[in-house]
Symmetry: C2
Subunit: 204 residues, 2 copies
C-alpha cells in the first residue's frame, strides 16, 4: 500500500497543499481487462467526495457499460434526492449524443466523435465537472477523428481543478507524455481466449 | 471492444449456456494502480445484476478504501430499502474482523489473516455470496499467513456459481494457474513518482 509518501520532492515551487490539490490526467491503456472498470471505480470514489462527474462514452455500442451507467446514474439521482455524493451525467455516442440526438439520417461516427470532443472542450473551459471520464477516447484519437495535438494542448492547459481519465488501447505517446498517471492493463489470461463467452455481472 | 466472440471453441463438452454461466476466478496483479479500483468497479456491475457481494479487505489500514466502502455500503442499504441491486457486506481486517472484534489485546496480523480466510472458506462452502472481493489477499498468501495450496484447492473446487476477485502485487503462480482471468496492472507513470501526494477523490 502506498502510504502517500512521494519518492522525490519536486523542484516546482509548489507547496505540498498545492501539489496535493493538483488536477490529474490519468490514462488507462493496454490490451487487458479493467481499463474502463477502474475508471468507473474511480468515479465511485469521486462521487463519495461530492465530485461532479461527467462520463463520455466514445463507443458505437453501449451494450457493455449498462451496469455502470445504471448504477452511476442511480447515484446521481440519489444526489438529487438526498444531497449525498455528487451529480453524475452520462453521455454516450450512440447515434449522435444525448445533447443533440439526431432524427435518423446518415451515421457519421467521425463527425459524432469530433462533436463529442468539441462538447468536452467547452465543458473544460467552463469548468463544468470535477471528474471527466472519456471512455475509449484513445480510438477516435488513433483514427484521426479528433486532432491529437488539439486534445493534448486543451488537456494540458485546462483551467481550474478538473480531473480527467482517458481509457482505451494504444494511447498516443503525446497523451502519455502529458499524463500524470498511466496504467497499462496487460492481458495475462482472459476467459474469452479459452472459449468462455461474456456473462452477466462480469462483462455487463 | 470484445464483442463476446470467443477465439476458440473449447473441447469441454459444455454447452454455450453452461460456459456462459461458469463462475470466474479473477486476479488483478502488477505494480500499477487500478487493481482494487477495477475490482470495486466490477462490484458496481454485479450490484446492478442483483449479486450478493462480499468484500474482504486484507489490509491493516483501511484508510485508502473509505470511498468505495462508503458507496458500496450505501448501495447495499439501498437494496435493503428498495430492493434495487443486491446486498453488500464489507469486512475489513483492522484489529480483528467485524464478525469477531477483539477487545484490545495483542495484535496478530497473521492470525487475523488466517481467520479471515477460514471465514471465506466457510462462506464459499455455504455459497453465501455471488461475488467475493478478496482485496490485497496476495500479501497474506505471499507472507505465508494463509496456506497457498489450501487457497488454490478451495477456490478451484468451490461449489455453485461464485465469482471471486483477488487483488494485490506478486500473485502466486499457483493462483495464476487456476485463475480464469488475470490482468497485470503495469505502472507506466505514477504521480507519486514525481512527488505528487495522494489526494481526495483520487486515492481515497
Amino acid at each position: 500500500m502506498p502510504q502517500g509518501q512521494p519518492l522525490t520532492v519536486p523542484d516546482d515551487n509548489l507547496t505540498t497543499r498545492q501539489r496535493r490539490n493538483r488536477p490529474l490526467l490519468m490514462v488507462h491503456t493496454g490490451d487487458g481487462k479493467g481499463k474502463s472498470t477502474a475508471a468507473f471505480g474511480l468515479a465511485l470514489r469521486g462521487w463519495n467526495q461530492g465530485f461532479d462527474i461527467g462520463v463520455f462514452q466514445f463507443v458505437k455500442s453501449a451494450k457493455w457499460r449498462v451496469g455502470e451507467q445504471s448504477v452511476l446514474e442511480r447515484l446521481g439521482a440519489l444526489h438529487t434526492e438526498t444531497g449525498e455524493g455528487g451529480p453524475v451525467q452520462w453521455h454516450k455516442m450512440g447515434s449522435g449524443w444525448s445533447w443533440s440526438r439526431k432524427a435518423g439520417g446518415v451515421e457519421d461516427h467521425a463527425g459524432d466523435a469530433a462533436e463529442g470532443w468539441a462538447q468536452i472542450k467547452e465543458r473544460l473551459a467552463a469548468q463544468t465537472h470535477d471528474l471527466y471520464i472519456l471512455d475509449e477516447f484513445t480510438y477516435p484519437m488513433g483514427w484521426g477523428w479528433v486532432d491529437v495535438d488539439d486534445v493534448v494542448e486543451t488537456l494540458a492547459n485546462r483551467p481550474g481543478h478538473q480531473h480527467v481519465v482517458i481509457t482505451g488501447r494504444r494511447a498516443d505517446p503525446r497523451l502519455i507524455e502529458i499524463a500524470d498517471l498511466v496504467t497499462e492493463m496487460g492481458n495475462i489470461k482472459h476467459p474469452m481466449d479459452a472459449g468462455q463467452k461474456g456473462q452477466r455481472g462480469i462483462e455487463w
